[in-house]
């Protein structure tokens, strides 16, 4: 399990950092913490485009995304 905390960053940095985490740890389930709706949408798009399944939870005004790579 790899955690990516991109709270405090505005678009497109959350996507860039998540993409890097995916490339560095291709087999890992990623937990991504984002602050805004825009980052949540954009990180979800990135994940779906790479075949990850996306689960989202709202935690006190922020979002925790669990991205599971394909075949896992």
């Amino acid at each position: 399990m790899t955690e990516v905390d991109v709270r405090g960053f505005s678009c497109p940095i959350p996507v860039v950092k998540t993409k890097k985490a995916m490339e560095d740890n291709p087999k890992d389930v990623l937990t991504v913490l984002v602050e805004t709706e825009v980052s949540k949408e954009n990180v979800s798009r990135l994940a779906q485009s790479r075949g990850y399944s996306v689960r989202e939870e709202a935690v006190s005004g922020e979002y925790r995304l669990t991205l599971t790579p394909p075949g896992k």
């Binding site: 678009c11 497109p12 940095i13 860039v16 825009v38 954009n42 979800s44 798009r45 485009s49």
Partner: protein, 328 residues
């Protein structure tokens, strides 16, 4: 600022009306028009923003092309301009400002516009743009309203500059994509405007921050016509698709969609990336022209012949549903 924020700030302000004011701020027009004589009116607009590309010279060119576009969209002829500069003097070398101003001046020369002055302030964040004054015949103002059922909609530049700019900020866009959008954003809408006027059209606006659909919505809001847009006919940069799918979507795009969600209906078969691109905030985008059907192919032919090769007919104006835009 988002489209809704601005409406909120302007609501209820005591505006002064004047019989010579042909276009004021009541409607979302591209520029203000004030009649001086029966033959002559002045057109005024201004625009400035933070850098959209890294190259200062190109940024200057784009900022000027973008500001002049509002005059071209109304069928006016820009004459004079004044620079607007916000510059972080302590953080940045003055040569950067010089390059920006040189780029801006080059575009003004191309447009036949004279720089007559300007104003600069020190600011934490670099911003550049111009205010523009032009002339127009009071009876020949092309408003953004006036589209009639049966008109064809012509868009003169490809979409996607906002998405690609976001990718540039994220360090994801290659040089080719940067060069492509720089060329498009720094292209004046001068020729497109001249050809539109020579052809005779019913309405026009330029596509900028609210995206294609945001500006299309302004053309029909509160009128008795609607629009049908063929998403497969809309020109866009191929890189915009790639980056949209990757999640390189600017926050403004989401705001644009949210603001117009009640006016826009997107068919299910339209892919997500394309629905995104239609709301992508553009810088120095093309003209969106509503032209009578029998003149549409003539206008398109003229645009293509003038080198505006990506211009396309992207849809039509319909009598039903009124005040709505259907995306097929």
């Amino acid at each position: 600022m988002g489209p809704g924020d601005l409406a909120q700030a302007l609501a209820g302000l005591p505006l002064i009306s004047d019989p010579n004011l042909i276009v004021g701020i009541e409607r979302a027009e591209d520029a203000g028009v004030y009649k001086l004589t029966d033959e002559l009116a002045i057109v005024q607009t201004l625009d400035f923003f933070t850098p959209i590309v890294d190259d200062p010279y190109a940024f200057g060119q784009i900022a000027v092309a973008n500001a002049l576009s509002d005059v071209y969209a109304m069928g006016g002829q820009p004459l004079t301009a004044m620079n607007i500069v916000c510059f972080p003097q302590k953080k940045m070398d003055i040569s950067i400002l010089r390059d920006i101003l040189a780029g801006g001046l080059e575009k003004m020369h191309e447009a036949g516009v004279i720089l007559v002055g300007g104003h600069s302030v020190e600011d934490d964040e670099l911003k550049y743009g111009i205010s523009v004054t032009g002339t127009i015949h009071p009876a020949k103002v092309v408003l953004n309203t006036g589209a009639r059922a049966g008109d064809r909609l012509v868009l003169t530049k490809p979409l996607g500059t906002g998405i690609i700019s976001t990718a540039i900020k994220g360090g994801m866009a290659g040089e080719g994509a940067v060069a492509k959008i720089t060329r498009s954003m720094s292209t004046l809408n001068l020729k497109a405007s001249e050809l539109m006027q020579a052809t005779g059209v019913n309405a026009c606006t330029d596509v900028t921050g609210f995206g294609l659909l945001g500006h299309a919505a302004e053309m029909i809001e509160g009128t008795d016509v609607g629009m049908v847009i063929d998403s497969t006919a809309v020109p866009f940069f191929p890189e915009a698709r790639e980056f949209a799918v990757m999640g390189m979507i600017p926050a403004g795009l989401y705001r644009n969609r949210e603001f117009r969600k009640n006016m826009v209906e997107v068919a299910q078969e339209v892919p997500q990336y394309l629905a995104d691109i239609l709301f992508d905030p553009q810088t120095s985008g093309g003209l969106l022209i509503s032209v009578p059907e029998h003149k549409a192919s003539r206008l398109l032919g003229r645009l293509h012949k003038a080198g505006i090769s990506e211009a396309a007919i992207i849809g039509e104006v319909v009598s039903e549903p009124k005040g709505r835009i259907i995306i097929r």
